[in-house]
Symmetry: C2
């Protein structure tokens, strides 16, 4: 019966799930609004050339790519930063700073696992223009306020700088062309530990003495110089913005190629094995790849699917506020009219349309968890007073429609 299932790695969301997701989306969007970010939407697919321009053709292994009917090679969006850079590159007159945010689904061809889906949701921002520590600190403040808004607790940030780690690579005598290999290895430190990282570096052709020297530099945390001062400045600004939980950890590099300086991860205590729930950094050279003119930029993405595993579940809301029960067929039209008045006044309302008797209707109301019923019979219609039943307590009150609306709206 596989045809009844969504494709591997994807999910259906039914109303209870969607209520929870929309609630998280709205809370995050409200934080974006407070910080002055405007939502952008880019298509589900992009020209493959655009997607591969920075990540290289090997990205094809990790994404959904296909040709359309006129032979155009396309790929499903797996990263929102590249399409937003396309927009910035094609709008040179865009006012800076530009603050863009998004909450969107994306796709990657990945082995599905805990919190890893082939259709996944991400919220995030791109801040285009400023090159200052304040801009990078704003990323941490946005993540912090978003996480607080949705009820996440015990999170902390690890920040680092690509420039410092680049310098470590050079200092350890590792050839520049191996930098990406080193980054890919060190990015797995949490998962595979120090010995795993060392083994991976060696398997990628890095000399044991160089790998040792590199690991020593990372652990020493010694760097000095303007890059470490910059990280300290980001840390201090974040603290001033209400984000005290920021550690400098030079083992953080983030896997994505395009970062040029500041990078960060967000861990949640007790959920470290889920990995980072929000990550990002500075990418001052990415827009220039498309437009020829570099524009400083910083940003992050926050995985919604993982977060939903971390934050506390709220009590499910009732699907509808009230059900209007016609006690017999002759008052069906009165029930419809009452239903429409309630809906017109903003009350979430259903009425009977399957010809069920009053007992069956009340059974349905209970099963669905609808908190109120309005009983409509011929005597109620002529008196213009209807019986409002509280389904939890069983208490019934005779009320005018206006009084019912005041109670339920």
């Amino acid at each position: 019966m596989s045809k009844f299932q969504p494709p591997r790695g994807t999910r259906d969301f039914l109303p209870d799930d969607m209520v929870r997701r929309r609630d998280v989306f709205e809370k995050i969007m409200d934080i974006f609004r407070r910080y002055g970010y405007g939502e952008v939407w880019t298509p589900a697919f992009e020209d493959f050339e655009l997607l591969s321009k920075k990540s290289g053709p090997e990205i094809e292994e990790e994404i959904y790519s296909f040709k359309d009917k006129s032979g155009r090679k396309l790929g499903l969006k797996f990263d929102p930063t590249v399409p937003i850079c396309r927009i910035v590159a094609s709008n040179p007159s865009l006012q800076k700073p530009a603050r863009f945010c998004y909450i969107t689904n994306m796709w990657r061809y990945d082995r599905p696992g805990a919190g890893r889906w082939r259709e996944f949701w991400q919220s995030g921002v791109e801040l285009i223009g400023p090159m200052t520590p304040e801009a990078d600190a704003e990323m941490l403040a946005l993540v912090s306020d978003s996480l607080k808004a949705i009820g996440a607790k015990g999170f902390y940030f690890r920040i680092s700088s690509r420039k410092i780690v680049d310098a470590f690579v050079r200092e350890a005598g590792i050839p520049e062309k191996s930098t990406a290999d080193v980054f890919r290895a060190i990015d797995k430190l949490d998962k595979i530990g120090e010995s795993g990282v060392m083994a991976e570096m060696k398997s990628r052709g890095i000399k044991p003495s160089q790998a040792d020297a590199f690991m020593d530099l990372i652990k020493s945390g010694k760097s000095g110089g303007p890059e470490l001062d910059e990280l300290k400045s980001i840390q201090a600004t974040a603290k001033r913005m209400g984000v005290p939980n920021v550690e400098i950890d030079l083992s953080i590099v983030r896997g994505i190629d395009y970062y040029t300086g500041f990078v960060f991860e967000t861990m949640v205590k007790g959920f470290e094995k889920l990995g980072s729930v929000a990550s990002g950094g500075r990418y001052d050279k990415l827009i220039g790849i498309y437009s020829g003119n570099d524009v400083p930029a910083t940003g992050y993405g926050m995985g919604i699917d993982r977060l939903l595993e971390i934050i506390p579940e709220k009590e499910a809301e009732p699907p509808v506020t009230v059900f209007v029960v016609p006690v017999k067929d002759e008052v069906k039209n009165d029930a419809i009219a009452i239903t429409q008045v309630l809906r017109g006044r903003g009350v979430s309302t259903e009425t009977e349309m399957m010809g069920r008797n009053i007992r069956k209707q009340l059974e349905y109301i209970s099963k669905r968890g609808i908190p109120f019923a309005i009983i409509v019979g011929p005597s109620e219609v002529s008196a213009k007073k209807y019986t409002l039943r509280d389904m939890k307590t069983g208490k019934e009150t005779k009320l005018s429609l206006d009084s019912i609306i005041r109670k339920l709206a």
Copy 2:
């Protein structure tokens, strides 16, 4: 420079566009909520077999389809009804009636044109369970209330029944296997006129005498029988629900194969050439194709892209409420602190982070249309009173931060 553009037939939406779209989405979602509909979300792609099961393999010409890396044939979602039927078919214990709604993007490989996009947005509902005229009338009431909520005017409905048109096909002596051809031809009546429809029927192998007989039946509107009574009952119920603008028009069939009875279109006066802005009908046999058990159902889809061309534009909202201006570098941290307090109290706020002087900051504030500025200098900081400038009038007031928040929040 084609790589800077979104793929053919797709669009980027920048913040001004998205504010307008989100406003429409929220208004429509509020109508869905009032009627007791719960949002469902299905993946962007489905197994091609599922998509083609009803529409036939020829649907491949009209959609984006591709194989994933394990050889699975997939297609991008072009119709939300089929995935929702998949959900219903795989959940036999689902309580009926089930009221599902969606607002989602979808994709079709279509020649782009006025209001026709390869990535397009649709809102709609599926009402699963009831087989009554009340259920079909609810579709018209939902469309009507949604259109009113977003400010559309001058719309009206045309309703028909597949059963009646099926009977006309038989009565005209047209072989049953040609029914789909007849439907495809008559569906274009608005676009190509009566003579065009006649020519198309003939080109599809229908005898001229049969085509003539069929057109006469459509135009006569004579049908009688329970099917016409049912349409009249839907019309009367819709009127009772506040939807008086419903015409019975038997030339309406809707192109999609799965309808089994009631079908409808929504036209907007003055925009007839855009075609129907919301269409749907009853599909009592579609769920059974997947599950083996027929479940009555009715629904519709409303194209958001066309609607946005029809409804009046609202005045653009300012992107941010207030900008905090540090007059010199030594008060930068005070400006950041004030900004964070404002954001924490719900006010959309930006501050300077590009090192611009006060004149350049004020220029930026004007250009972006930010309505207020807070001027922060050393004397303001020590007095704890800040200058609030109304950017429109130029009026300045010295106020405490609390007073500013009361004014702006």
